[in-house]
């Protein structure tokens, strides 16, 4: 978006919308801005819309919902909008309307890529999926990658170049910018870039001799790299091979969420979590914040982040490296810690060569070095963990930033180009980037949105999204992956390479970006077969980094601090930890999909909050939703508190990336008068307390704040809590490996207090339905779709939810409606905390439509809008639905979602038209007043059936993948034909640990869950009893 102002008449106008006289115009109606013309523009040229269409009633989606109570005549128009179409007089080559095309590309985040395949319909990308062929990231994808497509269609993207001088806007065109950039040739230019691993950018940098390159990311792997430098003498990248490990101990580490190798980790861990094949890894997790890794682990112990170091030293002592006297920390004398690391050490010693210590990047370098030393002792080097050299000998992001700041503050920076990022927002508060920026001569900022930083620079340059541009990057293992555009840049934006290329460098100046990339990768023409192959595959094979043999050197260890010597129960010393969140580091703060996806642990949407453990909360007298003031190192922040079971005592988790002031209509924008969402925790983040900081104080402000949680909406009473504790095990079956080996199927039926849940667990073919009063469905010889969800493999990444949202045009509803329990997600993840709230067990279960054979929803619909298909699905006929909602009442799984409002109404605003281009044309966009639910991606089923039929071949097992299944990295979801006894899904439903949810209701769900089997250490088996 170009910069926005409030006009005298109170309307918000963009800079390009000043008066008609000073603009170029193309015809009279454009000059006059008639409604017809504006409508035409909005439909035909979405890229022009921001400049020409009149941005009436710019309200945030949520506000729109809230304001609907106003009586102002908001009328529901007729149901079918009249549209005029202009047929193509000649069909472009290879263009078949309605037929999807798929292209490989890559998604780069923090300098690390993930291989993607993007589905394009009629020239517009509509869905992102993982690249099956990619050797490192595979066919799955992360929730961030899934949601990045929404970022491209975000109506709040910046649409033009904005030039500012001394706070005043000066009209500027792209050619003005190019002129200004060319003038920088030969001059000293400082660049502050996002992390990137683009080989082309690296080549370009070598060309640009006068450029001083700095990189900054708010979240990075620096600590690990620096730790390895301590341990091995040079910067190295750590690679964990979870599939080769039998015993995995994580220390404040998130393996499956915000981790550059999350997809690999998820795939690898799944291989070791198969109780039916007999062998399983064992995972121990010690952490401050409840991570999905902690939830997945067999044993978890919450401890303050700063205690990881003494605990690791204690562990090292136990496996024989050290003298007891070396580690004088109280924490090691605590029974729960001693038992935990005692059992862990025992396990690690038993499994020499297949043990693995993983330390989270939030831990300081020294802890990583200690972990490397332990891994070396355990014999895991080269097996469970490998190290590859980091490219170049770059300083850490923090060192790089500090160096740049020094130059800026001393006035040495004449020209500063900020490539992406948002340093005003996400640099440490004591870096005082704003003041430093004021001392810079001329500043440029390339950015997708006109954000906090864009406001303070001289040149804001609208950036091309990665789906609109050429580029290259590397996955975490080093495999070079190609970024290719799916669509012409919507707003004529520039990519980072494009911008830097203008600065010169003899080789690249006059060639296109694609040509530059070609050249870097050693090809001459775009038609080169090798290049075509790479483009088709999306990556360059054989380019992964090669692991080096490394030797651990001696390094100087800093002595334990006073607070590190204290035990874990001491709460007088409060520690703060900063972690990635749904918005990553804040860059996705305007991404409604991500913001409305409930956090896996807290189930919070539309906000972050200070995560406080129950014991700490009691100690401080805080209850859920209290606004607290946290002060540390001279900074303070008022933030809502969320009581999070399992959060370490004395440690407060602060998710980063919220409270943006210039994010957009969703995330808040100061110029539009839209409040920020969440709380800006960067206000407490300092250079020295980057990931965690000790010695914080908390005081209650007396105010309270409404948090939108999708579960536990209200403080649970004892009765409810007790029922949850009882039901959690019944709904989400789990057992241990030893019990499962011994008892098999009995683990499903063990709970006698509740109706027996295993009556019809056999795959559909062998189900005994003689006892049923219902008529059997006559399924004939059709396919019989079935699904299994392996609860033991779900790592809690939420990718399924995002994939479903993108595939099925699932709307977002806004914070107020989430609080009203009207969220629309077709698949959700129920999570319960079991046992002691301070150290609970996490049980969770993705739930979508179970596709019952005796579906209770079908029976009660008075108009037969939901009916049974011959293939065993519960079909929804949207246009037959009158919205009695009886089906939702009668669904015991509560998976039906009702359109209480016209959720997509905002798409009709001129400014949002571009957003509707993202809709999947294969899936109806539901109107107000109809019921919807998961269909098991029936459109995918039908598409595959058509393809197979056209090719005169049967459907191959595994050929159809539902969106959730496709995105699931650990492969927890299996879909297939139950009438085929050789199918994967049939075999899985036949496993002894397969069960139907609420089977006693005799609904005969076609979905089966596979009970979660954990592999706890018998030595710690009393841990649960102790709580």
């Amino acid at each position: 978006m170009s910069s926005l102002k409030i006009s005298k008449s109170g309307r918000i106008v963009t800079d390009s919308q000043k008066t008609s006289e000073d603009r170029l115009w193309r015809n009279m109606s454009e000059l006059e801005q008639t409604p017809e013309f504006e409508e035409f523009v909005a439909r035909e040229y979405p890229e022009q819309e921001g400049q020409l269409a009149n941005p009436v009633s710019r309200r945030r989606f949520v506000q729109l919902m809230g304001a609907s109570f106003a009586l102002a005549g908001v009328t529901q128009g007729c149901r079918w909008e009249e549209e005029k179409i202009l047929p193509l007089s000649r069909r472009p080559d290879g263009y078949i309307p309605g037929v999807a095309k798929h292209y490989a590309t890559s998604f780069e985040l923090g300098g690390v890529a993930a291989g993607l395949v993007v589905t394009c319909m009629e020239g517009r990308p509509i869905k992102i999926e993982g690249n099956d062929e990619h050797p490192y990231t595979g066919g799955a994808s992360t929730s961030l990658a899934q949601a990045s497509i929404l970022e491209m269609y975000d109506p709040d993207r910046s649409k033009s170049i904005v030039r500012q001088d001394k706070g005043k806007e000066i009209g500027a065109t792209k050619s003005d910018l190019l002129k200004a950039l060319r003038a920088l040739k030969g001059k000293t230019v400082h660049v502050l870039s996002e992390a990137t691993s683009s080989p082309t950018m690296i080549a370009l940098r070598r060309q640009l001799k006068n450029v001083k390159w700095h990189e900054y990311e708010a979240l990075s792997q620096d600590n690990s790299v620096q730790g390895n430098k301590m341990a091995f003498g040079r910067p190295m990248r750590t690679h964990y091979h979870l599939d080769k490990a039998r015993v995995i101990a994580t220390f404040d580490a998130e393996l499956f969420g915000a981790n550059p190798a999350a997809l690999r980790h998820s795939m690898d861990i799944a291989k070791t979590r198969d109780p039916d094949s007999g062998s399983m890894s064992r995972i121990y997790s010690m952490e401050s914040n409840f991570s999905t890794t902690g939830g997945f682990a067999d044993h978890r112990l919450p401890v303050r982040s700063e205690l990881i170091k003494p605990i690791l030293l204690g562990l090292e002592m136990l496996i024989g490296n050290r003298q007891l006297s070396d580690v004088a920390a109280d924490v090691l004398r605590e029974a729960k810690v001693a038992d935990f690391i005692g059992a862990l050490a025992g396990d690690l010693k038993k499994n020499k060569g297949s043990g693995l210590i993983v330390v989270g990047n939030e831990q300081p370098p020294e802890v990583h070095a200690i972990a490397a030393r332990i891994n070396a002792t355990l014999g895991g080097m080269g097996k469970t963990v490998t190290y590859t050299p980091e490219l170049g000998n770059n300083p850490s992001h923090m060192a790089s930033l500090v160096a740049l700041l020094k130059d800026m503050n001393t006035g040495k920076v004449e020209n500063l180009i900020i490539l992406g990022g948002n340093p005003i927002y996400d640099t440490p508060v004591d870096a005082e980037f704003t003041q430093a920026l004021a001392k810079v001569g001329t500043s440029y900022h390339l950015s997708l949105t006109h954000n906090e930083t864009s406001k303070l620079v001289n040149w804001h340059v609208n950036r091309a999204h990665y789906l609109e541009s050429w580029g290259d990057t590397r996955t975490y293992d080093g495999t070079v992956s190609i970024i290719q555009p799916m669509i012409e840049p919507l707003y004529d934006g520039m990519s980072a390479i494009e911008m830097m290329k203008i600065l010169g460098g003899d080789q690249f100046e006059d060639i296109s970006v694609e040509a530059a990339i070609l050249r870097v990768h050693g090809f001459r023409t775009v038609s080169d077969k090798g290049w075509r192959r790479i483009l088709h595959a999306g990556f360059k094979p054989g380019t992964a980094f090669r692991p080096d043999n490394v030797q651990v050197q001696a390094f100087t260890e800093t002595p334990l601090t006073e607070t590190q010597k204290l035990g874990s129960t001491v709460e007088k010393n409060l520690e703060l930890t900063f972690r990635a969140s749904a918005t990553y580091d804040g860059r996705y703060a305007n991404n409604g999909w991500l913001i409305e996806t409930p956090d896996f642990i807290t189930k919070l949407t539309w906000d972050n909050a200070a995560l406080v453990g129950p014991a700490t909360a009691r100690n401080l007298g805080i209850s859920n939703g209290d606004v607290i003031e946290i002060s540390v190192a001279g900074n303070s922040l008022k933030i809502a508190a969320h009581i999070t079971p399992g959060q370490a005592p004395g440690s407060i988790g602060l998710p980063l990336g919220w409270g943006r002031k210039r994010a957009g209509y969703v995330g808040g924008h100061e110029d539009l008068g839209i409040d920020s969402i969440g709380f800006d925790t960067y206000a407490l983040r300092t250079i020295n307390g980057f990931y965690s900081v000790s010695g914080a104080t908390v005081k209650k402000t007396g105010a309270t704040y409404l948090l939108a949680e999708t579960q536990d909406h209200f403080e649970m009473d004892d009765l409810g809590t007790e029922a949850i504790q009882r039901r959690a095990d019944v709904l989400i079956k789990n057992s241990t490996l030893a019990t499962y080996k011994k008892d098999g199927e009995k683990i499903i039926t063990k709970d006698a207090h509740l109706p027996i849940e295993k009556s019809l667990l056999k795959p559909i073919a062998s189900r005994n339905m003689n006892a049923s009063l219902h008529d059997k469905h006559d399924y004939g010889t059709n396919h019989q779709w079935g699904m299994t969800i392996d609860l033991g493999k779900c790592v809690g990444c939420n990718a399924c939810m995002l994939a479903c949202q993108a595939e099925n045009n699932v709307p977002i509803v806004g914070k107020e409606e989430v609080m009203n329990n009207r969220e629309m997600h077709w698949i959700r993840v129920d999570r319960y905390f079991k046992g002691n709230p301070d150290n609970p067990q996490l049980v969770y279960q993705p739930v979508h439509c179970q596709q019952c054979e005796n579906a209770p929803c079908e029976l009660v619909c008075p108009v037969e809008a939901t009916s049974h298909s011959e293939e065993g699905l519960n079909d929804m006929t949207y246009n037959r639905c009158v919205g009695t909602r009886y089906c939702a009442n009668n669904c015991p799984y509560k998976v039906r979602r009702f359109n209480y409002r016209y959720w997509n109404k905002d798409f009709e605003l001129a400014r949002n038209k571009v957003r509707s281009l993202l809709s999947n044309p294969d899936v109806t966009v539901r109107s107000r007043g109809v019921m919807e639910k998961c269909t098991w991606c029936v459109q995918r089923i039908e598409r595959t059936k058509i393809t197979a039929k056209n090719n005169r071949r049967p459907i191959v097992d595994g050929e159809i993948k539902t969106a959730c299944q496709q995105a699931c990295a650990p492969g927890a979801i299996t879909f297939g034909d139950l009438s085929d006894k050789e199918s994967e899904v049939y075999k899985k439903q036949d496993l002894p640990r397969s069960y139907a949810l609420l089977a006693s209701l005799n609904n005969l769900p076609r979905n089966a869950y596979l009970a979660r089997i954990t592999n706890p250490n018998p030595a710690l088996s009393n841990e649960k009893a102790k709580g």
């Binding site: 609907s68 109570f69 009586l71 005549g73 908001v74 529901q76 579960q711 909406h713 209200f714 009473d717 009765l719 409810g720 029922a723 949850i724 039901r727 959690a728 709904l731 509740l754 109706p755 409606e817 009203n820 329990n821 009207r822 969220e823 959700r828 129920d830 319960y832 279960q845 739930v847 209770p856 029976l859 009660v860 619909c861 008075p862 108009v863 037969e864 037959r880 639905c881 009158v882 919205g883 009695t884 909602r885 009886y886 939702a888 009442n889 009668n890 015991p892 799984y893 509560k894 039906r896 979602r897 009702f898 359109n899 209480y900 409002r901 107000r928 007043g929 019921m931 609420l998 209701l1001």
Partner: protein
């Protein structure tokens, strides 16, 4: 006095009495001036009706999202209101038909008003299921309308049964009511001096001449209608209860529902009749027609049905425990001790404790106390449906989907507005139609036998 004179005297007394009835009842209709209280009441009722109109405008333009319904509580206040109004609508037909068949003559003074109340209550009830659908403009799809698509309602759904049950009940109630009005319209026709009114009443009275033959046929027909209407009293609320009993939800899936709902409906219906008639008979000075005895009889019905309802509550709890079904057990514990316990105990107090006061003659004969207690019963019966619907839905099988329910402003205005509709219609009825079945009251009095020779 000779027997001849006695006869004459009796006949004269009867004439006097009959004239008194006719004058009193017709007097209300024929009065030129509107009573002040009536004007005030009507203005108030129409204002409240205005709330309904505004709420419906909002509803049709914004969608059901203006209410507090959500993913878990797909049904909430609108359906509570529906069941509440259907329940209210039970007294009329019960009084007219069932008590008629049981030869309970005291019914005659209240049956007309009770029938009118029934019809208006059913109108209010019928409103809710229609407007609570997501796309009310398509609600007619619930009717079996032949179309070239060959699409019919799904006859396995209790909601489809509801359509038939409620519409049949409404039709029969209106016919029954209108039939009863015919002789009284004829009376009004004969008394009026206005040409216009004469024509209108003439049409409404369907050419009634009051011949013996007409009376004979009329009474046969009335008996048949009563016999037809009687099963409906039981069927409507049984079928409404199937909406819940057929569902799988703990707290809904209960076989006791049909009798329990019928008893509750009669209970609430009688309470509503008393709530309306106690002030009406005072304001229209009809205490001699609707006597204290009639009021007392009605309180006895309330006591009886209230006790049945209380018994049903107890049985539900017992079965929830006895069945051993943990989900069912939890639902009931949750009703009594969960977050909605306040609603449950309100219901228990109003529906179980309150009617027990009617054991006492002193209470049964004090109209002020009766009025107060009946209001409480109405409140209690609304809460009964709230407890069944909202409390059960708020905590079903999957705790992950549990949610506390809060109504919105529009929930309240829609419900309140339905009272506006009800009272507007009822006030218009009181003013413009004979609110007491004159001929029936006459027939039920001992004067009806005046002049008959006793041997």
């Amino acid at each position: 006095m000779t027997s001849e004179e006695k006869h004459k005297q009796e006949v004269a007394d009867a004439r006097e009495y009959f004239k008194g009835i006719t004058d009193t009842v017709c007097g209300v209709v024929e009065a030129k001036e509107h009573p002040t209280w009536w004007l005030i009441a009507l203005a108030a009722a129409i204002s409240v009706l205005g709330l309904l109109v505004i709420s419906l405008y909002m509803l049709f333009t914004q969608g059901v999202g203006i209410w507090g319904n959500n993913n878990g509580e797909a049904w909430a206040w609108p359906i509570v209101n529906f069941v509440f109004w259907v329940g209210i609508g039970h007294a009329g037909t019960l009084i007219s038909a069932v008590l008629f068949l049981m030869r309970q003559k005291w019914r005659t003074s209240i049956n007309r008003a009770a029938e009118a109340m029934t019809i208006f209550a059913v109108m209010c009830a019928g409103l809710f299921p229609v407007i609570h659908t997501g796309r009310p403009w398509l609600a007619y799809w619930l009717m079996p309308i032949p179309g070239d698509m060959g699409l019919w309602p799904q006859f396995r759904s209790p909601l489809a049964w509801d359509v038939f049950a409620v519409s049949t009940y409404a039709t029969v109630s209106i016919l029954f009511w209108y039939m009863g009005l015919v002789p009284d319209f004829a009376t009004l026709r004969d008394r009026t001096k206005s040409k216009v009114k004469h024509t209108i009443y003439g049409m409404l009275s369907l050419g009634w001449r009051g011949s013996a033959r007409a009376w004979h046929r009329y009474e046969r027909a009335y008996l048949i209608m009563a016999a037809l209407a009687t099963p409906l009293v039981f069927s409507v609320h049984s079928i409404v209860s199937f909406d819940f009993a057929v569902g799988q939800l703990p707290g809904w899936h209960t076989t006791i529902f049909p009798p329990y709902f019928v008893a509750g409906a009669v209970f609430s219906g009688f309470a509503m009749v008393l709530t309306l008639m106690i002030p009406a008979r005072k304001l229209f000075k009809m205490e001699h027609i609707i006597t204290d005895l009639h009021v007392e009889n009605m309180t006895k019905v309330i006591l009886a049905t209230g006790s049945m309802v209380g018994f049903a509550y107890a049985i539900e709890f017992f079965i929830a425990w006895y069945s051993g079904n943990a989900y069912e057990g939890f639902t009931f514990k949750n009703r009594a001790f969960g977050p909605f316990a306040w609603a449950y105990w309100t219901m228990i107090f109003c529906n179980v404790v309150v009617p027990q006061f009617f054991w006492f003659k002193k209470v049964r004969t004090n109209v002020f106390i009766i009025f107060g207690l009946c209001l409480l019963v109405n409140v209690g019966m609304w809460f009964e449906r709230f407890v069944i619907i909202v409390t059960s839905l708020s905590r079903t099988f999957m705790p992950g989907s549990w949610h506390y329910y809060s109504p919105t402003l529009f929930d309240a205005t829609t419900f309140l507005g339905s009272f506006g509709l009800f009272f507007t219609l009822f006030l218009l009825f009181l003013r413009f139609m004979p609110m007491i079945a004159m001929f029936e009251v006459k027939g039920a009095s001992h004067h009806a036998h005046a002049g008959v020779k006793h041997h």
